[in-house]
Amino acid sequence: MSEPRLVEVRRNVLKQNDLIARALREQFRAAGVFVVSLVSSPGSGKTMFLEKTLTQLQPRYRVAALVGDLATENDAVRLARSKAPVKQITTGTLCHLEAAMVQTALEGWNLHDMDFLFIENVGNLVCPSSYDLGENLRLVLMSVTEGEDKPLKYPTIFNSADVAVVTKNDLAGAVEFDWEAARASIQAVRPGMKIFRLSGKTGQGMEEYLEFLSEQLAEQRRTALTS
């Protein structure tokens, strides 16, 4: 038997996901819908935050949401209270969403009927970082109850995100949240990252963040027109 030899192949392991994500991004662009994904640890207040986002954007925009969860449909039920179209993606044992799941979940929905589409990932700060979902903006959420060094513990997901949202700010005093320390750890893993500090429950800080989303949508449509 001959000696083993090395053959170069250069195959991106996530190529299939990346191809679907690229196709989705192109569809979103063509339909003029701005897509925001949300990642965080379980219990960071993602669903409350998204419910408020959907409710408050609705008077001005057409919004819809896909929600990933391991086993239950509780989140979709909660979000449906906003009256926005919501679809649950139940992942079973899978700890993250993949582009193909988003593609399947979107079947039957007309993207042209939307201004914003939100994709809530499964609560997990590790696995979702590897998968592009075709989104325009990835938000990473951390609540004030989680500790200021969360970004240093999960640098990959914070680095892969575009915007950080610090939630449950109404509890900041009770847990003696050190805002400067949190800001420093976010900036260490993603220098220049935009940070919103808010409370979904009281609504404090929501306005500035919603305004930011409006600007992002307007910007995307401007670019689509000129390209």
Binding site: M1, R11, N12, V13, L14, P191
Partner: protein, 114 residues
């Protein structure tokens, strides 16, 4: 943990390349970036599981760790980060998010026997 599904994708990719070339694989070389979101130990364990009952059973996964390389606008050059917890140029301290390497999750070579 998503390493098992990643390991299965690695096995699929390797088998496809092997059958296309008509070769028998004895080892798979993988480039794994520090920002890939994949844990090496979990992946090595998952690889063995993913290979079971496939022609790759008994083969080795050889992982080459790829550190994060950024472009520093101040130095006008590429720099290797010392840690993924600090995206600043190790030479001059300028913050940067211009990542040039470190996201790899790539089967780059197969060890084969003809």
């Amino acid at each position: 943990m998503h390493e098992l599904s990643i390991a299965m994708s690695i096995v699929d990719a390797a088998l496809e390349e092997a059958s296309r070339r008509g070769v028998q694989v004895t080892g798979v070389h993988l480039r794994l970036g520090a920002l890939s979101g994949v844990v090496k130990d979990a992946l090595l364990f998952s690889y063995e599981v993913a290979c079971q009952d496939t022609p790759l059973e008994g083969t080795t996964l050889i992982v080459e760790d790829v550190p994060v390389v950024v472009f520093c606008p101040q130095c006008n050059d590429q720099r290797t980060l010392e840690s993924v917890q600090s995206f600043t140029c190790p030479e001059c301290g300028t913050p940067t998010i211009d990542v040039r390497k470190g996201k790899e999750l790539e089967v780059f070579a197969l060890e084969v026997q003809e």
